[in-house]
Symmetry: C2
């Protein structure tokens, strides 16, 4: 745990005082987004200290080169990068001609707040210029959920002790380079820069992918509360445009600059209309004015919190953390656009390039299922349905036939865009998560129609993949799966990863079950699928045969399912015996040493026992938790949440709480010393799960909803809401009681601590 | 087998007729070198067709960037590239102002010969220019072994049917880019270009590595056999200098341009004297003149062939091939400079970047041991001795301690410079080959003093590596080696690769044996080593314990040593059942499919049985050959030679012959469809081995030399010579008889077909 400096608060992320060392970390923590775009909490004014300028637009990416030592057949042609987009927040400030830069000026009373209840970011401070002029600055910024193309900034400057000139220079900067560019390449082509009174536009195009983006701004200046009708002086550069407002002020006078700015782009509009649409959005925002826009923002967030808030009493840090997680998830994905997804870092950083990982299916879907309308989770499924053809092409590149699909490990548009063979070619369990999400969706919503309409095609294509990916081992007299990487990426190219074999078998069983059901209950849909995918009845027999004869590595004496063949040949030594100086091992050990060690990056066997908990008795789960957890280094952000849920399940509540804190405050307390690179967005859904499924004990197997709440001793009570089949349920748990309230008119049957109740 | 077009000839590589499609392949096949430098057989005159311009200087490299998707701890900082050096062979030709370019002109009577007996390259043809002028061209070129910095070209042009001007434009070109440059970067900085009458110089420096190179040329023109005293007109460009000789000719007149050119460089001279040394070398060459230089060249090769020729009667293609292999090896490495080594492509191409692989120890050393003075092989050992410190650093980067050494997989200067984790971190068997070479050298030469003087330090450092690299498996009650890549690189990150475990155990045994021997017989040396490497006697106990309890995967029923744990889980299907369209699999299958298949790239278990043949009875070897050979795709050039030797050993002479042809004519017949990239130099030593150790049955275990010659039915007889402990032996084998002749005065005892004889 490093750099703990965030002030505990129920509803806000607060930083008091200015520390240059923490600027990059705070830029991540105070990030804002509206599902359409997002940005790091960079300063509006010039800042020459360490910083990662970052502004991102959902779906806009660049296919970067991916050269490696030797090319291997089947490697993707590119590694997608979420593109750092033109910067529209910039407002340079000059006091008597001197640039304000708090890296070199004195700073007092620095305060920063990300108000999660209302969805805005504020920053205020007093600065003293080298010549002694003192000014106070207050800026408030948010990305509107009502006009999604727009962000709004209120930037206020007051002359505290001088008479002189203040210059405010809002600008747009298209000369942005990705920090993770392989060879410092520039990924944008500037097409045009337009200057129109108090508005300006940069039209630019991404290289290769040819997305066109119009970045626009409009600014309005108030002096001492009075609106000025000014046409700023403008300066146009090769990739940048600046508007200059220069005002002579007396001591105590105040300037307020309102800057409305944002993007339109060709995923939503034709290239020719980008500027006009941008202009209309800016005009609409200006007509509303900052206050009204902000009011709409607050109302929007009120509705979000109404159904998704989790209240934790008696532990303010836990309260702050869970809201931070829920807030960031809602900033990242709204579910309105089936072409978008949830990148591991959302709009808060560049690492992990492409946008979509199996994180979405394994972690995020349950969150959106329980807190949003059905359509949101469905859009995430449709995203994969729309990529089915590309997943089939991807599998074909690797030699699979007959419509087998391998979904990519990382993707922007359905194509694989990651280039480590041990991941791309081998971490194939992701294919299972895609199917598990379908199961989850149908089971939770009761909307079986998704299967005949969309799901079955995906289910068949994935089953075909597993069928070809296994081979029959004469030695084991069973089907084996050789050369895979499981969720625990600290093992590569292993044989018979238990989790992968298990989810593959389950996929085949689930496919067989649904083939039969659709054939019987939706014969028309079935006939059209038969035609579309060239279905052969004999495929079913093969699936059943493989599923029944799948090999699972185990030590029968213990008894224990083994993470993979040969696991027991390792030197088994619990993590707590490792010197602290060697942790995290991925920053201290060479790859070969990690690989041959027993250390587990993230839940692997336990991921399977979490997904398929209903297949195992509690003792079995406990035995596996007790064996594998001490060997787990949790160096993936996706690890502690799953272990926390399983720990709750086996009633190891202290461990569950320890792991909960680790997942909930992973970024706020910077456990892995890397928050400056961005937030771990997808694992935030895991945090939510570790409350709702972990402490709350919510389960939803076989069309039954159930709860078994327990509470950590550190809390006095907690409460959460879930949407379920038209109802809204509130679950309240204190040390004395548990209460479930149906806040809707829809009647629901559920199980509480094993007892059936009707609400 | 592709593009067979080389004319069978006992002593020459001959190409008749011009085919644009074959230019790049011929550039490789007709390559010339002199150990100090080498070059592809590029045309002197302009050629605008497909071509790989390549000229290389031993030891001059560039550390190219090695970015990969995610950085893994311990990755080397760079990937070394053998640098394409300034081009000094260029002679542009203009006929009445028109450039001669046989890509666009008519060509007749095209003939190219690489004379291996005498060491020169010749090319002649008649060309008709677009305006109808017909000229004949003849060029002869060689790289001198007497003045190693120098190559000589005789370039003759005759006007066949016209009167007009002929311009000959010898030039130097420093603007050379490596074909395998990661991002088309230029690796050289031009420091100076100097023009001095009929001489010119380009001084350039490699970026980062800062080698300085002076490329120089001197040219002399003869018209109809008469030397011209001309100062050419000169043209200096940014990276190039040209000398223009323009002569008016009548029909039948002939121009001969003699161009002497080459490199001096800062591995051998100070930067300040490069040009002067170059000038002296050019002057010396010019004083000798072309004829005398050529005569010296022929004499040099005569001596080489005297001791290293292999004569094969009755099979001209086999004869040509074996000489081609021997010739190229002698062009690549002369053993004069312990800083140089034998790159897999020698001076004939860029692939495989760095210069030194385990190929040197496993394949090349026996060739040089038997055909050169002792010093040559010793220099190859000293090369590794000099790199010991860097090998210890390399191991330390991966977490090994206490002076453990891991020699690099690929290196130019002792540092690892390859960047695939499965190779760099895991293909650790290379460490064993370093020790095996020491054993080989001492055993062959009888020069035990090498061990106390140099070898033991290396032996100890490598033994320390193995000691730390194994771990004790409670499950197997034995020491296991997890996460390795064996010689068969079509398996990565496997557990207990039999070959690696075997050579590791052998290294430990050999280390223990030598520790004891040196301690007893060379106590002073031992004491100084003890001090230098901080030797502890208890280390010996650990070595012995590990060696005695090393795990070897096997199927006891068959019985069979398994290539690695889990090998029998694969689908086992002989290579000959694969469709031809899928071969070679490395060009047609994805990497994951290759990995999980049973197909073997090159000898792995069999490599061990080859190295340690004396540890196994012939039946055991035969069983393993019969099991593994049908699963082997031989997609490494290093594969067929070993299998051929083992096939001879088990008396499967038809198979041995088939594999011999494959190794011997790998490049000449372009088996792997890639000869345009360069020749497989190191595997050529394997070809030699497959005659001498294969058919000739030469063995040298336990200080005993033995032969067991057999002969393929396709040959009438064969004969080879080997140097052995001061003697030169000639072995002659026909279908009727076998004859061993000692050509020296040194008495030798050896075994022929198991019978002891004194010669």
């Amino acid at each position: 745990m490093n750099n703990i400096y965030i002030v505990p608060d129920e509803w806000s992320i607060i930083e008091n005082g200015f520390d240059k060392e923490k600027v990059s970390a705070s830029e991540s923590l105070f990030s804002i987004g509206n599902g359409y775009m997002g940005q790091r909490a960079n300063f509006e004014e010039t800042y020459t200290g360490e910083s990662l300028q970052g502004s991102y637009i959902g779906g806009i990416y660049y296919p970067d080169k991916t050269r490696v030592g030797w090319w291997k057949n089947g490697y993707p042609e590119y590694f997608a990068k979420v593109l750092n987009a033109p910067n529209w927040i910039g407002i340079d400030v000059k006091i008597n001609g001197q640039v304000l830069d708090i890296n070199s000026c004195k700073v007092e009373n620095f305060y920063r707040e990300l108000n999660m209840k209302e969805g805005w970011l504020k920053r205020s401070f007093i600065s003293e210029m080298p010549n002694g002029e003192r000014i106070s600055i207050e800026s408030t910024r948010f990305l509107s959920f009502d006009i999604k193309e727009i962000g709004a900034i209120q930037y206020q400057v007051e002359a505290l002790n001088f008479e002189g000139s203040i210059e405010l220079i809002p600008y747009l900067d298209g000369g942005i380079v990705n920090e993770d560019a392989n060879y410092d390449e520039f990924f944008w082509k500037i097409l045009d820069i337009k200057d129109q009174k108090d508005e300006a536009y940069i039209l630019s195009e991404t290289l290769k992918t040819k997305f066109e983006v119009c970045t626009g701004m409009k600014s309005i200046l108030y002096v001492n509360g009075e609106k000025q009708e000014l046409t700023p002086q403008s300066q146009v550069f090769e990739k940048k445009i600046k508007h200059h407002y220069k005002i002579d002020v007396k001591q105590g006078e105040q300037l307020s600059l309102y800057k409305y700015a944002g993007y339109t782009q060709t995923m939503n509009h034709s290239a020719g209309e980008l500027q006009q649409v941008m202009q209309e959005a800016l005009q609409k925002a200006a007509n509303y004015g900052f206050e009204k826009l902000l009011k709409l923002q607050i109302e929007y967030w009120e509705k979000i919190w109404e159904t998704s808030d989790i209240k934790i009493a008696g532990d303010i840090k836990a309260q702050q953390a869970i809201r931070f997680n829920i807030f960031q998830l809602n900033q990242t994905y709204t579910g309105k656009d089936a072409r978008l997804n949830i990148g591991p870092k959302g709009f808060t950083g560049e690492k992990y390039g492409g946008s979509t990982y199996w994180d979405t299916e394994a972690y995020c879907i349950p969150f959106y299922l329980s807190t949003k309308r059905k359509k949101v989770a469905k859009n995430l499924l449709i995203y994969r349905y729309n990529h089915l053809e590309k997943a089939i092409e991807n599998a074909a590149k690797l030699g699979f036939k007959n419509g087998a699909a391998l979904y990519p490990m990382v993707t922007m548009n359905g194509e694989e865009c990651h280039n480590e063979w041990e991941i791309t070619f081998e971490e194939i369990h992701r294919n299972g998560a895609i199917i598990y999400a379908i199961y989850n969706y149908v089971n939770y919503t009761g909307d079986y129609s998704y299967i005949p309409e969309y799901g079955l095609e995906v289910i068949i294509a994935v089953a075909r993949f597993w069928t070809q990916r296994v081979n029959y081992s004469e030695a084991k007299k069973a089907y084996v799966m050789l050369g895979v990487t499981g969720p625990n990426e600290y093992e590569n190219n292993v044989n018979n990863n238990w989790y992968t074999n298990y989810i593959a078998k389950w996929c085949l069983d689930y496919a067989a079950e649904n083939i039969k059901k659709v054939k019987k209950e939706y014969p028309d849909d079935f006939q059209s699928i038969v035609k579309k995918v060239n279905w052969q009845d004999k495929e079913l027999d093969k699936w059943v045969e493989i599923a029944q004869n799948m090999f699972f590595p185990q030590d029968k004496e213990r008894p224990l399912f083994l993470q993979q063949c040969g696991f027991l040949d390792k030197e088994i030594k619990p993590v707590d015996q490792l010197p602290a100086s060697e942790r995290p091992i991925n920053q201290n050990w060479s790859w070969d040493r990690i690989l041959r060690s027993c250390y587990i990056k993230q839940a692997d066997v336990l991921q399977g026992m979490y997904f398929f908990e209903n297949h195992f008795d509690t003792d079995t789960i406990k035995n596996h938790f007790d064996y594998y957890e001490p060997l787990t280094v949790h160096e993936s952000s996706l690890s502690p949440c799953v272990y926390s849920i399983v720990a709750s399940k086996i009633n190891n509540i202290d461990k569950a709480y320890e792991l909960y804190l680790r997942t909930a405050r992973l970024d706020l307390d910077d456990y892995n010393n890397e928050v400056d690179e961005g937030l771990h967005i997808t694992s935030m859904a895991g945090t939510w799960l570790s409350v709702v499924q972990g402490f709350g004990g919510m389960r939803n197997f076989n069309n039954e909803l159930s709860f078994k709440p327990i509470i950590p001793k550190e809390w006095t009570s907690y409460a959460f809401k879930v949407k379920y089949r038209g109802a809204i349920l509130e679950i309240y748990k204190s040390h004395k009681e548990v209460k479930i309230t149906n806040l809707s008119d829809k009647k629901i049957t559920l199980f509480l601590n094993g007892e059936k109740i009707n609400l």
